[in-house]
Symmetry: C2
Subunit: 375 residues, 2 copies
Amino acid sequence: MNPTLLKKSAHLHGPVLIIGTGLLGASIGLGLRQRGIDVYLSDASPSAEAVATDIAAGSPLADAPADLAPELVVIGAPPDVCGSLVVEALRTYPRAVVTDVASVKTAVLDDVRAAAVDDDAVDVRRYLGSHPMAGRERSGAVAARAELFTSAPWVLCPHDDVDPHAYRTVTSLAVDLGGVVTTMEPAAHDEAVALVSHLPQVVSSLLASRLQDTPAASLSLAGQGLRDVTRIAASDPGLWVQILGANARHLVEPLEGMRADIDRLLHTLRAPTAPGARLDMAQLIAEGNAGQARIPGKHGGPAQQFAWLTVLVDDKPGQIALLLTEIGSLDVNLEDMRLGHSAGLPVGMVEIAVLPSKKQSLVDDLTGRGWKVVA
Amino acid sequence: MNPTLLKKSAHLHGPVLIIGTGLLGASIGLGLRQRGIDVYLSDASPSAEAVATDIAAGSPLADAPADLAPELVVIGAPPDVCGSLVVEALRTYPRAVVTDVASVKTAVLDDVRAAAVDDDAVDVRRYLGSHPMAGRERSGAVAARAELFTSAPWVLCPHDDVDPHAYRTVTSLAVDLGGVVTTMEPAAHDEAVALVSHLPQVVSSLLASRLQDTPAASLSLAGQGLRDVTRIAASDPGLWVQILGANARHLVEPLEGMRADIDRLLHTLRAPTAPGARLDMAQLIAEGNAGQARIPGKHGGPAQQFAWLTVLVDDKPGQIALLLTEIGSLDVNLEDMRLGHSAGLPVGMVEIAVLPSKKQSLVDDLTGRGWKVVA
């Protein structure tokens, strides 16, 4: 099978059945409904299903015709139960394509293959796992939104036996919802997300957990650095237990690497004036520089260095808008933006990133219009 | 000495001598010059001094009158040389108050006390260390700005022998530059910044260094989580070597704590289906939740949960401005804001935080005006 030949997708026709109506499942329902596709919803939790129905992500499965033959079944359940729900869907709907959106892919495929050994109804050719890279710190249908997948990577993880029709159907789902389709082997996917998604979660949680007994006076010195590093530590333990458990094998190696680096650093910090200690510490920070510089920038393009400037504004309604209106009227595109968190005074600092070629004229123009700009 | 009695500060009169004209030293010079205070500058590096002079942060020390008697000497040098420069300033200017702005305080005070033992000219009563919590990823006078300290905590670290006049003078410096003055013992300060500033830097660098050999296809799956956790990994190795070296003793304990947690997690990940494994993983994430929730919010107030909503905008000049203009016209204050980084499509997602009481009406109003809002 040549994946490039299969990437052409038609639109989905439906109906689509979504089993598991959390954040991802309900968001998929909302997006498909907006495109006029019939969606049925089912969740092991009646209240979760009711919330998804209330926000118009689809109709309850109980209201579906008895001979419902979905074009596509989407399993929106967490990793623990995902495999068995895929198997059940393949059995129940013998003509449907089945996908899932769990953030770990090898374990689900293993479950399906294991069930297929003794049961011809579990037709692995109709299953294609996928993973839209679109999470939030909040979970559940209450946080769902049709645009959740817009412009985000949506990874398809084909196995050797996947049917071209299944490939086209799942591609259509991703494309219809605005995702950017990429393809990876399941194991390569799991290894990748261990490093770019699961390890950052672990690290953020480990750091934040150090703050449980920190005196409030110490925490009052916290700056944007600490806030950024710990933001995702607010994530849901229930979901992350399943993700970490399902991808445990790929997390061990990078985590062992980090532990070895910590051991090296501890050795250095215990004798910070010993020969070579300074070099060790500089190397740690420099290696971080090198890794950080490789992370791609906005819109999936190569990492790009923007030029930053800072503008002081009063922290009251309309000031930032006024500033951005001026910037827009100068025909400069805002590449990134950050609001400075200040302590105790009603002044905001707006840090603005623009293309380097635009910076100097923007500084001049804003200053000329009376803004307090620091380049 | 009762610190509360001493917090009343008069304005500085000057002249002020700044030794070490990097980011902090040059920013202090700029701020004081804007307030009409005479500033002289000196740096071991002639080019660093020249840059600071060029941006009008002060005049070269070589141009000062021979009988220069500064009211205040500010040492803006990194931790390594800070102590000896404080000692030298106390000797050279027998009537000046001397402060420094290094991010580690115990080591500097130790250096001064050691030098004072044999030399009456090293009058420790005239020295009061301080630490403005206002760094940037960029360093040097080129990144300096007069407003760097506005609304940021500025920690004074008094010792038992500090003179009330020195206390008032350094307080005046911090207040004149817009800082929010707080007071901490030097050791308590060093312990606090180890946890809220230095450990986050180490953790961010350790994580980012794992990405040095990651395939580009894997990195293309990076989301906002990874970007946030690794942002400060772009920091300057030269400066951080000195900070980590000077505060090594306070970093060992929290880093050992993290390593113990990693060992516990590795044990769990190697046998993720063993009894208790799930509980261990859930506990790690839940402890992170608890620590993260304790970090104070904007303006130094208690941690506050804002209500977030997301608006889809075209990624072209003026769109975000237009949106914020509408929000301002509805008299709603923007508490925080985040631009969504998307991959491959020219659509931006603006996440906006407002007071919870303002959210529903804002969603309704914006939707009514034609914006694509997801609450």
